[in-house]
């Protein structure tokens, strides 16, 4: 017994084990806060767990939830639409954020004020943003249709939130309005940290503005862009509130995203078991996007001569 105690004592005091011991509390906390809920929700995806019937948590139904999901066209339509939404929103936010960052970077006076103003949309709650755009896009009393009709652009009441593609555009617009500044801030940080020597050398060599941007500025800030894309691809689920308020995923599922579908299934219908199964299928999407962006970050850093 004494020998074992001594061995254990010397093991925990060894130089090799000390770092692990020091981070052990953090590991335990992370396991408790992240892993346990993940495992629990994964388990519930194999049950008919209903929030209003806690006993259903202990009924095992195998892959029934997954089988239903895989044969549900509405789910796959929402899955595809979510991929499209992510692609459209993140790319447009990147382009607009890049443009804003480049313009603000050129300003010599009032830059701080502009940076603060630029962040205003981020400060709004997504629910508020949803209501704001719901009324802007209202076909009858909305400001947009009234403006278009008053200006003589159209004599029709355009159903912004009903037509399949207009509704998709409307929810994308609201999301882009709210979150473009995240890209702008991160890209601006990249521009601030950029050394001036390569730019000056390029100017001396006779490069024009486009060539400087394409071959020096853009490659330099791409790691920042991919970090922003990774963050946004995970954070874009905040759009749930916007979509829920503006269209509720409708009409007839035309703007249904995975998040609106999962929330309705899990909370309104109380089918948390099936909702968790949907969430686990949709996690594949998050993993794919994250993996893709990390590959891009590594490639961009290599291109800039950094370590992978």
């Amino acid at each position: 017994m004494t020998t074992i105690s001594l061995k254990f004592s010397s093991a925990i005091q060894s130089k090799k084990s000390m770092p692990y011991l020091l981070i052990l509390p953090a590991i335990i906390v992370i396991l408790g806060v992240v892993l346990v809920p993940l495992l629990f929700s994964f388990y519930t995806s194999f049950t008919p767990f209903k929030l209003t019937k806690p006993d259903s948590l202990f009924v095992f139904i195998g892959f029934k939830n997954y089988i239903r999901i895989f044969s549900d066209m509405a789910f796959w339509e929402a899955f595809g639409r979510t991929v499209l939404f992510l692609a459209v929103v993140i790319n447009l936010e990147f382009l607009l954020g890049l443009g804003i960052a480049l313009m603000i970077n050129k300003i010599t006076h009032g830059q701080r004020v502009l940076r603060t103003i630029m962040m205003f949309p981020m400060m709004f709650s997504p629910i508020l943003v949803g209501f704001q755009f719901k009324f802007i896009f209202n076909d009858n009393i909305g400001i947009l249709n009234n403006a278009l009709q008053s200006l003589g652009v159209t004599d029709q009441a355009i159903a912004w939130l009903v037509d399949r593609w207009l509704a998709f555009g409307a929810i994308s617009f609201a999301e882009i309005w709210m979150s473009t500044s995240i890209f702008a801030i991160l890209l601006l940080a990249g521009l601030f940290s950029m050394p001036q020597e390569p730019l000056e050398a390029a100017q001396v060599d006779g490069c024009n503005s486009w060539q400087i941007f394409k071959h020096i500025t853009l490659p330099f800030i791409m790691p920042f862009a991919f970090i922003a894309m990774t963050i946004r691809s995970l954070d874009v689920a905040r759009a749930y509130d916007i979509v829920d308020v503006m269209t509720g995923g409708g009409p007839a599922g035309r703007t249904e995203l995975l998040w609106t579908m999962i929330a309705r299934t899990g909370f309104d219908n109380a089918n948390m078991g099936r909702a968790n199964a949907m969430a686990y299928v949709s996690i594949i999407l998050s993993i794919l996007f994250t993996y893709y962006f990390f590959r891009k970050i590594i490639a961009a850093r290599k291109a800039m001569g950094g370590d992978a």
């Binding site: 929030l51 209003t52 009409p251």
Partner: protein
Amino acid sequence: MNIKQKLMCTIATGLIATLGMSQMTFAAGEFDGQTLRVKFIGGAQYEPLYALIPAWEEATGAKVEILSRKNHFELDREIKQDIASGLVDWCVGSNHTSFAPQYGDLYIDLNGLVSEDVLADFVPNALASSTVNGRLVQLPRHSDVSNLYYIKSLFEDDDNKKDFKAEYGYDLLPPETWVQVKDQAIFFADPPNFYGTQFVGKDEAITGRFYEMLRAEGGSIFDAEGRPVFNSAAGVRALSWFVDLYESKAVPAGVPNYLWDDTGLGFASGTVALNLDWAGWASFFNDPANSKIAGDIGIIRAPKGSAGIRTGWSGSHTFSITKTCETPEVAVSLIEFLTNYDAQMTEARTGLLPTRSVVWDDVVTEFKAADNAFMVDIFKTYKLSMAEDAFTVPLIPEWIEVSNALWPNLQAAMIGDKTVQEALDDAADLATEILEDAGKL
């Protein structure tokens, strides 16, 4: 509201507040030191009632700790999570007749806890809707039912009368049937500047509108064995009413996305001729500061369908007491207070429909004294409607889930993604699956 009306209301409010204290039936300080944890519905129209709570606290010695003040859908989610986690550490919750059945045995039966004398003062229909499987799981606070608002001047215009008669062969009068509403809506419509009517088009809102039209057409959601039968001929007629109006552009193109605020603000903007809506909007519609049609509004009972039945989808906002509440006698005292005469008069003055019989008469008397003929008409119409036309949704736990299967299909028919029959058949298949999963079929 003119100065005289405001003065009368202020005097009446003061009198009621003073008298209110004397009408409390509990002994002073009898709940000293007790704290009630509650979860209430929040929102502008619900908050004035909570301003009365300090009076109850002062009289009883108890304290009310409000844990949540959310809209009903968010509150519903929170309550479901409480049930799932087994952490129901609160006593009183806001409830709704449409939501109550899904909560199982979360709430106690108030029969026997609330005295029969108190219950006798409530509208029997409201108590019946609050009863699930023979258990009175909620005490009704105020009720909802919709009636038809219309712009009066449109029906008084001689050219309109002449043209309508020439086109449809009968006189232009406030409609008695939904077929007449359709004719008139198409007649008045001049999109995109003016629309004949409108309706809420998503969530449980369109389910409810379809459901009441289905009943008015002689159909029902479920048969005697609980099987979905809304894809019947009556169901097709009911849904076709919405689809026909949408296709004829007599309603705004955005209605599949409309909820109550859209229809309310739309009617107040003066761009819609006929509007089926709650009484809660009445004051807003007739307020010149908010409405372009103030002073030009008529109200009639909801029209009839082809079965001779008036639409009357109804529900009540209520209060319930959890089975885990350790001080149910304190909780009963609070919910009785929040639904007593004074509390209901406070809410009725804003247009919310009371659940106590005598309040219906007294609030009309008050509006008459204030020369507010419009609100007198409103309450007389809604009283009749609540007494004779109102019916609740099927009180089954699966209702919300069935509704969530139904409304996207109703929308699909409206916007042309499916035919009316296809939409109803698809929804019926989904509803059947839900009920089979629940072991009901």
